[in-house]
């Protein structure tokens, strides 16, 4: 019993908020590309915010519900439907046993998150449910979801009793019931097709030529088709070091903008390696990682510089907003 995958979609994986504590062993963090959307999907279904959910990429899967579930879909709008009726994002939805969830045309964003009340009945690997494709651990057998997979669910539980009562009262012939409320849009992530991404200078920023230092902030970089959960390969004006230098490998992280010798930058994403040896010209701020995670290959981004102080302030503000959202959601859900 649980969710049966009729069609897997382009890349559907199980992710949580990441695998920490093993980077010193070369084990990558993984986790949702858009952590804010994942956390909200969980809260809207009465889960702990770091519970595992499905990360669905651009072309969504087809999922058969083998039992009643309370779900929530957040992040990118990939036109989710049941019986050709559109589902709304960012709210709890009661889905009846026997329904088939499908996705259509991507409207805005790249990655959508599907959480189920109670979470999945899976084993953690090294403290996390996140799928680590290269090492073949976490998620469902360490792989992306395949046709025929059956993801066992723990099932609807009391952590969502208020919202379940609310949805049960609604009379409908449909195979699903959506909550009539959603969190204040002002507090939800705002995605753009070609966003401005805030970043701080990277550790090797000063090693770049004056032109490169100006180019990184003043030009649009295209997110090329060679972009995935490991990193986004960008295309734009080439960036160069003042003088060729062999760097000593050191830690890199989610949002590190590194520049290989050919001069086109790469932004490291959720499945980044733990260490790298390319010069790091910039580092995307944590608060803008969700926005970056939703950029569709082919679109453009522009970097704008902020200070470390501002970056940390923006992170604290984002966490504060999430805490407020959490409290307002829990009143309605629990």
């Amino acid at each position: 019993m649980g969710l049966k995958i009729l069609k897997p979609g382009l890349l559907t994986t199980i992710q949580d908020t990441g695998r920490y504590g093993f980077q010193k062993d070369g084990v990558i963090v993984s986790g949702a590309m858009d952590r804010v959307a994942l956390r909200l999907a969980n809260l809207l279904t009465g889960n702990q915010e770091d519970e595992a959910a499905l990360e669905i990429t651009l072309k969504g899967p087809e999922i058969f519900f083998q039992e009643d579930q309370l779900i929530s879909i957040t992040g990118a709008d990939l036109s989710p439907t049941i019986d050709n009726k559109k589902l709304k994002l960012w709210r709890p939805i009661f889905v009846k046993k026997g329904s088939v969830l499908k996705f259509g045309t991507p409207k805005l964003g790249c990655r959508t998150y599907l959480a189920v009340c109670g979470g999945f009945q899976l084993q953690k690997a090294l403290g996390s449910y996140s799928t680590y494709l290269r090492a073949g651990i976490g998620g469902m057998h360490g792989k992306a979801l395949q046709e025929g997979d059956n993801i066992p669910c723990k099932g609807i539980n009391v952590t969502a009793s208020s919202v379940l009562d609310e949805l049960n009262l609604k009379q409908t012939a449909d195979n699903f019931v959506q909550a009539s409320w959603a969190p204040d849009p002002a507090y939800l992530p705002s995605y753009e097709k070609d966003p401005v991404i805030r970043a701080v200078k990277g550790p090797e920023y000063e090693l770049f030529t004056a032109t490169s230092k100006s180019n990184i902030w003043n030009n649009i970089f295209q997110v090329t088709q060679q972009s995935d959960r490991m990193g986004y390969s960008l295309a734009g004006l080439a960036l160069a070091l003042e003088e060729a230098k062999e760097l000593v490998s050191s830690a890199v992280t989610f949002g590190t903008v590194q520049v290989p010798p050919q001069g086109q930058p790469i932004i490291l994403m959720a499945d980044h390696q733990t260490t790298g040896g390319y010069p790091r010209i910039a580092q995307v701020i944590t608060a803008d990682l969700p926005k970056l995670a939703q950029v569709v290959p082919g679109r453009g981004i522009r970097f704008t510089e902020v200070s470390i102080d501002e970056a940390q302030q923006l992170y604290l503000e984002q966490e504060h907003q999430l805490l407020q959202l959490k409290q307002s959601i829990q009143i309605k859900v629990k």
Binding site: F22, D25, G26, V27, V200, V248, T286, Y315, L316
Partner: protein, 247 residues
């Protein structure tokens, strides 16, 4: 050399974005810098500060990940500034207290050299005008220092290989390098913990699992360990591989 007030002059602190601080102990790869990294890293492992998530020791740096929301600060002072002053105070204390990491472990890594297990052994030998046996003798002679783990889960960056067996990377990387492959690239030797594409010259294969997610420590090797390669027969390789993978 351990951390001393003198070599602390060379320490640099800088941010890696809003959730990590880098402590750099020197500009180049050497055993003295490595020892200081080991000492500092061992201290942090034993006494993590509030808000610390994890640390990644590398050749010349220790990068510490933290949650800015969990670093207690006064208004107007950023979590980075607070942490930076904490580490600046901590380093001389470590020096004064003569805190050092435990002695390194030596780990024996058995390797079946040549043949199907090391398809590039002949190339490495020819490149250096040696016989394959001489390459094996040189490779097993030294102890290697694991400077850091990175690139792949459990992959050791090791130092100490003799230049007599150095060899350039392959022109075309192999699409698949089997798990446990022992290779040479330039002046470095390494072991592939998982099957992956790669351009190293492969001289042998070990039956040991360098990465095992069910082990308490998923990586067999850790920064600071010493590695000694030993040559084993194909038969012994097969036996040990069965034992490893069965357990």
């Amino acid at each position: 050399m351990a951390i001393t007030p003198e070599n602390l002059q060379a320490v640099k602190l800088y941010p890696l974005g809003d959730k990590a601080i880098v402590v750099e102990f020197g500009g180049e790869i050497n055993r003295s810098v490595h020892q200081r990294i080991r000492d500092f890293s061992a201290y942090l492992a034993q006494y993590p500060f509030d808000g610390m998530i994890e640390q990644v020791p590398a050749f010349t740096t220790v990068t510490i990940y933290y949650n800015p929301a969990l670093i207690p600060t006064q208004k107007g002072i950023s979590a980075y500034d607070k942490l930076s002053s904490y580490i600046q105070q901590l380093l001389p204390n470590i020096a004064d207290a003569h805190i050092t990491a435990p002695a390194p472990q030596t780990i024996e890594v058995p390797v079946c050299y040549g043949g199907a297990y090391g398809p590039d052994l002949e190339f490495v030998a020819k490149h250096n005008s040696l016989s394959p046996e001489e390459v094996i003798a040189i490779h097993t002679e030294q102890e290697y220092l694991v400077y850091m783990i990175g690139f792949a889960p459990g992959f050791p960056y090791m130092g100490g290989m003799s230049e007599k067996i150095a060899a350039p990377r392959r022109d075309a990387p192999r699409a698949v390098t089997p798990q446990g492959s022992v290779g040479i690239a330039g002046k470095q030797t390494g072991i592939y913990p998982i099957e992956t594409p790669g351009g190293w010259q492969l001289i042998g294969q070990t039956p040991l699992l360098l990465f095992h997610p069910k082990r308490e420590s998923p990586s067999l090797l850790h920064a600071g360990d010493m590695v000694r390669f030993t040559s084993i027969s194909e038969e012994e390789y097969k036996q040990r591989k069965e034992q490893q993978h069965g357990s």
